[in-house]
Assembly symmetry: C2
Homo-oligomer: 451 residues x 2
């Protein structure tokens, strides 16, 4: 396997109202990161415990997997964000009525073990982990969020957190967006990797004018991990996002859901939905400015910049999908509505036959037609146009002679394979989905994941 | 690739009210088969044109793909069975009002080219093919059904039928269920193969008592082809079934739909639904007896025997799925209803992560739990039990210590991998789905299918 280069936007790239900057989460003032090796993974060289700590209580929000077999840390973090009732003892429940609702001081994430299908003992370990971090920070355990990723159905060791949490605390970088903060954020991004071959992080800045006429510049940064069991369902994979702005609760929740629906929820690697999907967002307020609410002039620019950031992270996930050699972007237009466009695009993006054809550099557009046809989206086959990498391959449902040599050349030279399908219904429905090809490496990676 | 042995039931095997016999379609009296090499495939050694002809007009029924991009032969055959309005010229439409509605004399099937996404020219070629066969038989073109399988979006040559149909006519075997008839049926089953490594056919006999007290014995035989782009959706793959009984139209349609829903519609290789799925059934009436209608005492035994036959064919398809090394049978019980059980079983059977784990001989049941959780079926995770190859691996949503060495031994020795999941809802919903594992060979086969 040749080493993969990142597809992340380079610092300085401008997209919409946002400019990419270096440093990932480390670009955001008011929080500190660490990533250490704590023994969760067999390979002692690999980092496997990430910690993100804010200098002061940060506004927090989260979106979680819709999988019924959701893991213990998902149940715990949902509760700590007060999105659900208490999954464990009564004593804890009382604390939930306390101060600081929806604020967090820290997020602790381990790789190597998902703490899923582990029952009450698993919940107990997630709860102890939050307490361990809270003790170190002198805060309430409710202000600590927990996430795990890795193998399902294997008990997670509490001892590893007892030794690992102090290690991670000692390794925390500065909260000043300095190069040292960037380095610590990279450590954290590396610590949450599972079968990912690349750490995935990004940061953007945007400038906008407040209601009082003052111009402000905010940073939003984030890290995510892929790279298998990826088809988020109204939630998403493992990720931590942060901003140095300050928002009210409603604004942050709406912004996060809007941006995720357009980005992370439009990635599919293998159509499988994780038991552990969790994305957290923290607002530190470390950069002065007015509180952003859903009605203020800063809200739209904030959502736009957050969407740019998350689109870059979504593309990074698809590009680094298990075994992937290509990023595949599927764009469906001309559907009756956006929902039908989404079903059609997802059907293409999840078709093993489309994905193996791309892996084989085969412009077999008939399989794209097949995937459209089975999607349930309404259309007449004689109205459908398909383009592959910009080449017209199908017009009005019929083959178009195209230059197979040129197609092969594009397959060999392009990192990103673009599929465009226009359903020609006269409707304006459209959707974009990111995925990757299906290669031998996917089989190799997943044929012996546990062993 | 080592040569695969068939998983078909051996002649003499008794299942329910049915006894397996040799000969496939060739076991059915009153019809003749042929399979010849007519140049549709590049390899001149491979048969690629199959013809099935009845001695007299046979009662006919068909079920077809639900893919919106359905192929020309599907449109034509649907029309010839009067399930749709005319897809082509007005002149033909008039004939549709004529005699012999729902009767057929012949089915012509080619492999190597699906005649899909080929527009009006493709429809014209399918129509000409029916006429060619009709001329040879001296019957109406409406009494000829057409099916194609192979690559999508490539024009099909009319000339190959002009030379191929007379060749196939000349090669037709006898209609007397003799060894020569068996050999001709095997030729036909070979001619419809695409990426199949084995021809797939079966035949059963059953004995039952008519309303007049007379005991009758009927034969039902069939051939099908897999082996990729297989997830039938209220229709199925390419297949021809026949019986020497005589039924009325309603009884045959109900019997076919009932049996298919329990068998062929419960196979999935790769979750992709073909543009060309067609299953035809012919009743020759060559063995004397009363007409079977949906109310007579013969109907239930007929449906039962047909279901036994189709279950065997369904298992053959899953076993010979593209690249498959294992037949995987997924059984879900304890769901709220059968529909939820079906969704849960299909979610497991289509999960690339479950299928690669089986290919890797890895008892990674956490992925089975994940697939249940994303299926949308309602259950509480603490009520779920999972067994893998008869080993209890999960009880009440929690891991059970099991003998990993025994699991490995079973993975290595068993052709069929059984997954049982009980959702524990207190409901009686259950479903069974057949699939196969996902191996490197699937990628190899589909990475360069056209080239």
């Amino acid at each position: 396997v040749t080493e993969k280069l990142s597809i992340a936007a380079a610092p300085g790239t401008v997209q919409g109202n946002a400019t990419f900057v270096a440093g990932g989460l480390g670009a955001v003032r008011g929080l500190r990161c660490a990533g250490v090796s704590a023994g969760f993974r067999r390979n002692p060289q690999r980092k496997d415990l990430a910690l993100v700590v804010t200098d002061a209580p940060a506004l927090a929000a989260g979106v979680f997997t819709q999988n019924s077999f959701c893991a213990a840390p998902v149940q715990l973090s949902r509760y700590h964000l007060r999105n659900t009732s208490c999954p464990y003892g009564e004593e804890e429940k009382l604390k939930a009525t306390g101060q600081g609702k929806r604020h967090s001081r820290a997020i602790i994430l381990n790789s190597g073990n998902a703490n899923a299908n582990t029952g009450t003992p698993g919940l107990e370990i997630a709860s102890q982990t939050a307490k361990l971090v809270a003790e170190q920070l002198g805060c309430d355990p409710f202000h600590v969020l927990v996430a795990s990723t890795g193998v399902i159905g294997v008990p997670l060791s509490a001892e590893l957190f007892q030794t690992g949490v102090p290690l991670a605390m000692a390794a925390l970088g500065p909260s000043d967006a300095s190069p040292a903060a960037h380095a610590a954020a990279l450590d954290a991004a590396q610590a949450i990797m599972t079968t990912d071959t690349l750490p995935k992080q990004a940061a953007v800045q945007f400038t906008a004018t407040q209601s009082d006429g003052l111009e402000v510049t905010y940073t939003i940064g984030g890290m995510v991990k892929g790279s298998g069991m990826i088809q988020p369902n109204m939630a998403t994979l493992l990720g931590v996002l942060a901003t140095d702005a300050w928002l009210n609760q409603t604004a942050m929740k709406i912004a996060l859901q809007k941006a995720i629906n357009l980005t992370l929820n439009r990635v599919t690697v293998d159509s499988d939905t994780s038991t552990n999907d969790s994305v957290f967002m923290l607002a530190t307020g470390a950069t002065p400015g007015k509180t952003i609410n859903a009605a203020c002039p800063l809200f739209a620019p904030f959502v736009q910049a957050l969407t740019v950031l998350l689109e870059d992270l979504a593309r990074q996930i698809a590009w680094d999908g298990e075994g992937a050699s290509k990023l595949v972007t599927v764009q469906v237009t001309g559907a009756k509505d956006d929902k039908e466009a989404d079903a059609a695009a997802r059907s293409i993006a999840n078709s093993p036959l489309v994905k193996t054809a791309i892996a084989g550099h085969d412009a077999n557009w008939g399989r794209i037609a097949m995937a459209l046809g089975k999607s349930g989206a309404q259309f007449e086959q004689e109205d459908v146009d398909i383009d592959l990498m910009g080449l017209a391959v199908c017009r009005g449902g019929l083959p178009v002679a195209f230059d197979e040599q040129e197609a092969l050349r594009l397959f060999e030279s392009e990192k990103e394979i673009l599929i465009n399908a226009n359903l020609g219904t006269g409707g304006n429905g459209q959707a974009r989905i990111w995925t990757c090809d299906l290669t031998h490496d996917y089989i190799t990676i997943n044929g012996d994941y546990r062993t």
